[in-house]
């Protein structure tokens, strides 16, 4: 596949993984960039995107509902029907207000197993549910394959393992960002190792690996310089998100990251508590990502936040929620369209007991392949045939997100 210039340059010149070289071939600021954030464990979308218009919501959740706007610890009003979790006040709400965020409720997969394992896999594979599943190719990898001809495509998983959605024929790099630079191989030793591989078939991968590492470490140096200038040092997802932003601003345009800890069967809390803390960390991280990208690259970036399914609409006996069906996706980006930015988009219905799916969950009205397919078509100008390669047999709906 065509790699970014700096990577192929690094490959042909074994020792050339310097700052200057990496920067020289950075994606242009108007290169479309896409980051998929997968919330593993099925986050409770009803606590994030609160159906404040629904009396039934408050009946069904006596201890864990987010109060109505205006009440103590109440939801932040988004429109007449929906509110946002109060933990998002300093992070995602400003993005919404500046039309750089939108939500797609009733989103998800038609997979009905309600198994984390099966549904995460089936979403990442992105294949029709009733057909034979090919475990070797995920939809992000197929997107990368489809975009291969574009000279500056550089996909990257910001995870310790290559996730299922990025596995497949297109070569995709991966690196975890939380613990970089501890006990690894330093620059001098990297050169000595790279020299052993000169002229071997593995040389490109070895050099690229060192080049990426250098870039990550450089980004960390930037962090430390900033911390010196009294910036608050980030931790948790915020830290990872900042590092991702540096890398996606300078080098990578197709990214993946996952965030765990959403399986809130017990004591999930409401405006404060376990889930609120997780949402707070996530929101801060995403806002930091937008900030760090810089205005122009951010204008061409879309971050999609998805999860394998939603949770039961009613609170369970342990002040938590169980495995459900429909959830809410988030789309963030500096270039969201006027129809999308600061709006609730996609097919919707009133939130009432009568509309529950199997009398327990949100239905799925906006299937993930349809939503993401429509987004990819717009971002990358994909033809219907190309879309079918990414999401075979999908009925793609254009939500005009960008």
């Amino acid at each position: 596949m065509q790699r970014r210039h700096f990577l192929s340059a690094a490959a042909s010149l074994p020792l050339a993984f310097s700052l200057a070289r990496a920067r020289a071939a950075a994606p242009r600021s108007d290169t479309p960039r896409f980051l998929l954030v997968f919330l593993r464990g099925a986050y409770d979308s009803n606590s994030l995107l609160v159906p404040t218009h629904s009396d039934f919501y408050y009946e069904a959740r006596p201890t864990i509902a987010i109060p109505r706007p205006g009440e103590a610890n109440g939801a932040l009003p988004l429109d007449a029907r929906w509110g946002l979790h109060p933990a998002m006040e300093g992070s995602v709400l400003p993005l919404w207000q500046s039309r750089q965020a939108c939500f797609v409720p009733f989103a998800g997969s038609d997979d009905l197993s309600r198994s984390h394992f099966e549904t995460q896999d089936s979403i990442e594979l992105g294949q029709p549910l009733d057909a034979h599943q090919n475990f070797r190719t995920g939809f992000m990898n197929r997107l990368a394959q489809t975009l291969q001809g574009r000279s500056d495509l550089a996909p990257m998983a910001f995870t310790a393992q290559l996730p299922l959605c990025m596995r497949g024929p297109a070569r995709i790099a991966n690196t975890a960002l939380a613990n970089v630079g501890k006990g690894g191989v330093d620059a001098n030793r990297s050169r000595a190792i790279a020299a052993m591989y000169a002229g071997t078939a593995l040389a490109p991968a070895v050099n690229e690996g060192f080049a990426v590492r250098e870039a990550v470490l450089r980004g960390m140096q930037e962090e430390m310089d900033k911390a010196g200038r009294d910036a608050i040092s980030a931790k948790g997802f915020s830290l990872v998100a900042q590092r991702m932003a540096t890398l996606m601003r300078d080098q990578f345009d197709l990214g993946f990251v996952d965030v765990g800890g959403w399986d809130t069967h017990v004591n999930q809390g409401n405006a404060s508590g376990n889930l609120a803390n997780r949402l707070d960390d996530l929101g801060r991280g995403l806002a930091a990502f937008a900030q760090e990208m810089g205005p122009e690259p951010w204008r061409h970036t879309v971050v999609a936040v998805i999860s394998e399914f939603g949770r039961t609409f009613r609170e369970n006996g342990n002040k938590g929620t169980d495995h459900g069906h429909g959830t809410a996706y988030w789309m963030l980006g500096g270039g969201l369209s006027a129809q999308a930015g600061g709006r609730i988009v996609g097919e919707q219905m009133d939130v009432s007991e009568a509309h529950l799916f199997q009398n327990r969950d949100y239905p799925v009205l906006n299937e993930y392949r349809s939503v993401l397919g429509g987004l990819f078509a717009r971002m990358y100008g994909l033809s219907p045939a190309q879309l079918q390669q990414v999401f075979p047999q999908a009925q793609v709906k254009d939500l005009r997100l960008v």
């Binding site: 995460q120 790099a173 071997t200």
Partner: protein, 530 residues
């Protein structure tokens, strides 16, 4: 322990001295390949190291001495039919014996977890205290995590130290072939038993028995859902993977109709956690004789679809569980299965693209022996095409990490193998952690991406500089000094380096200290292949 090791070492050292002198006089040190028919002529040090890297979890000085002592033919005979149970060095035996999964029977473990679950439910229902039910549920999860972690430790201890090295490699191979994942919650309870009682005993035995043992185990029945496959509620998941991943292989000629037929045949194949002598479920008189209960395995005629089925173009004549047997016989006997298994073995041991003649030869051995795994392996490993291809197999993380530890510390048993598991995790091949039923892939392109190479060098550096973490009694205890092995002193390391490229030897020559020499040695391109 002491006497055991001394005995082995001195015997091996004696034999080794004699062998080496014989070797030096008869065989040129750079002989290109092992002779085809495995005559007991001496091999060069490099050839022995290549052979051990292929057939064991990695060459070490003691393994090399043993190979020299026995000669290739006898060494392979012993590996293909190892003494059972294999005798590990005493500290490794003790470590395994002390694990909860070794001390309690599977029945006991299962009842214990069920009781813990019940206690959590009761606490919740009775509203005992704030969060008591949640605390108890948390305990169940942490207990399940411990059971799975112990199974990982046992696998690593055996892989590192068992004298039955080929059996251990094949245990991993079949665990991966009949993959189940601890990501599916209940698997954590069963995984140790699955490996110990369904897979390892058959790892060098008969493929048909192995297939049936995996089919009957709760780990597989849960993971691929056949436990919920019943008449009127067909679940094709296991039936499909049985044909696609376990036996014939995708595109080998079976059809969707065969998958459906197999799913119907498999209805009622499940397991029960009731007491082994509990009375069977109430059954119509005509079906009572069909009921089976063996250990956890249960065949429940009430859930079985007795409609006649056609599989692979022929009707099945038997009924009930006997129809399952007939179907498995037919599937295992199909040429597609011999071909599929032969190719997978050849890829695992030899290279991404094994010579077609080698695959044919191996498939023929499988068919001729009716799925005798040892006979199939003997044919594969001693085939001239296999002996001629050395160093073509890119090491997956298991082979890389275990090989480095065996080389570095040989028979000195780690008191804590969790760092080994951590290194393997870091490289993306967590034991029992592959989510989908296809198991970990084997090809170079699956393990040699840029991020994976960078991570591999990081792990190399850690082993090179801090592998004494394996010998701490407590995680916080200080490391012994120096906290690394001196790899340059290992005879098998020296034998390797002599064969390496000028570029690799140049890097080694530049190393200024032992940790750096170790780092470059473990990072060399030649160490990435076996």
């Amino acid at each position: 322990m002491r006497s055991y090791r001394l005995l082995t070492l001195s015997a091996a050292a004696l034999a080794g001295t004699l062998w080496l002198s014989a070797c030096a006089s008869h065989v040129p040190p750079d002989a290109a390949s092992i002779p085809a028919a495995l005559p007991d002529t001496p091999l060069s040090a490099a050839q022995r190291q290549q052979w051990l890297d292929r057939v064991s979890w990695g060459a070490s000085d003691s393994a090399d001495r043993q190979l020299q002592r026995l000669g290739l033919q006898r060494w392979l005979d012993e590996q293909l039919a190892p003494r059972q149970p294999p005798r590990l060095p005493e500290p490794a035996q003790q470590h395994i014996a002390a694990l909860e999964i070794s001390q309690r029977s599977m029945e006991d473990l299962q009842r214990g977890i069920a009781a813990q679950r019940q206690a959590a439910r009761t606490a919740t229902e009775q509203g005992q205290g704030e969060g008591e039910g949640a605390r108890l549920r948390q305990e169940v999860q942490s207990h399940l995590n411990q059971l799975a972690a112990q199974a990982q430790q046992r696998q690593v201890l055996r892989a590192l130290y068992s004298p039955a090295q080929l059996q251990e490699q094949m245990t991993w191979f079949w665990m991966n072939h009949f993959n189940v994942s601890t990501r599916k919650a209940e698997t954590r309870l069963w995984i140790g038993d699955y490996e110990e009682r369904a897979i390892r005993p058959h790892a060098l035995g008969n493929f048909r028995s192995l297939l049936e043992a995996s089919m009957r185990h709760p780990a597989m029945l849960l993971y691929l859902d056949n436990a919920s496959n019943a008449k009127g509620h067909i679940n094709e998941n296991y039936a499909r993977e049985l044909l696609e991943l376990h036996t014939m292989g995708v595109g080998s000629g079976y059809t969707q109709a065969d998958v459906q037929a197999m799913a119907h045949v498999l209805t009622g194949v499940g397991f029960s956690t009731r007491d082994a002598d509990a009375p069977p479920p109430r059954l119509p008189p005509a079906l009572q004789a069909d009921y089976r209960r063996e250990g956890f395995f249960e065949f429940n005629p009430n859930r079985h679809d007795y409609a006649p089925q056609v599989l692979l173009g022929q009707p099945l004549r038997a009924k009930g569980l006997a129809a399952v047997d007939e179907a498995l016989d037919r599937i295992v006997a199909s040429p597609a299965t011999a071909q599929f298994i032969a190719r997978k073995l050849a890829v695992f041991f030899i290279s991404d693209n094994p010579p077609p003649a080698l695959v044919q030869r191996t498939a023929a051995a499988f068919a001729r022996s009716h799925g005798d795994i040892a006979a199939t392996l003997r044919s594969l490993l001693t085939a001239p095409e296999a002996l001629a291809q050395q160093g073509q197999r890119f090491k997956d993380p298991m082979h890389y990490v275990l090989g480095a530890v065996r080389l570095g510390y040989d028979e000195r048993v780690a008191s804590d193998v969790r760092p080994v598991i951590g290194w393997i995790n870091r490289l993306g091949q967590p034991i029992y952690g592959h989510e989908t039923p296809d198991g970990y892939p084997a090809s170079q392109s699956d393990w040699a991406s840029s991020g994976q190479m960078a991570a591999r060098f990081d792990v190399a550096r850690q082993i090179a500089t801090r592998s004494a973490v394996l010998f701490r009694a407590e995680p916080q205890a200080p490391l012994e000094q120096p906290p690394y092995p001196d790899l340059a002193q290992r005879a098998t390391a020296q034998a390797r380096v002599a064969q390496w490229s000028a570029a690799s030897r140049e890097a080694l020559a530049k190393a200024r200290n032992v940790p750096d020499w170790n780092t470059y040695f473990l990072s060399a391109p030649e160490m990435m292949v076996r």
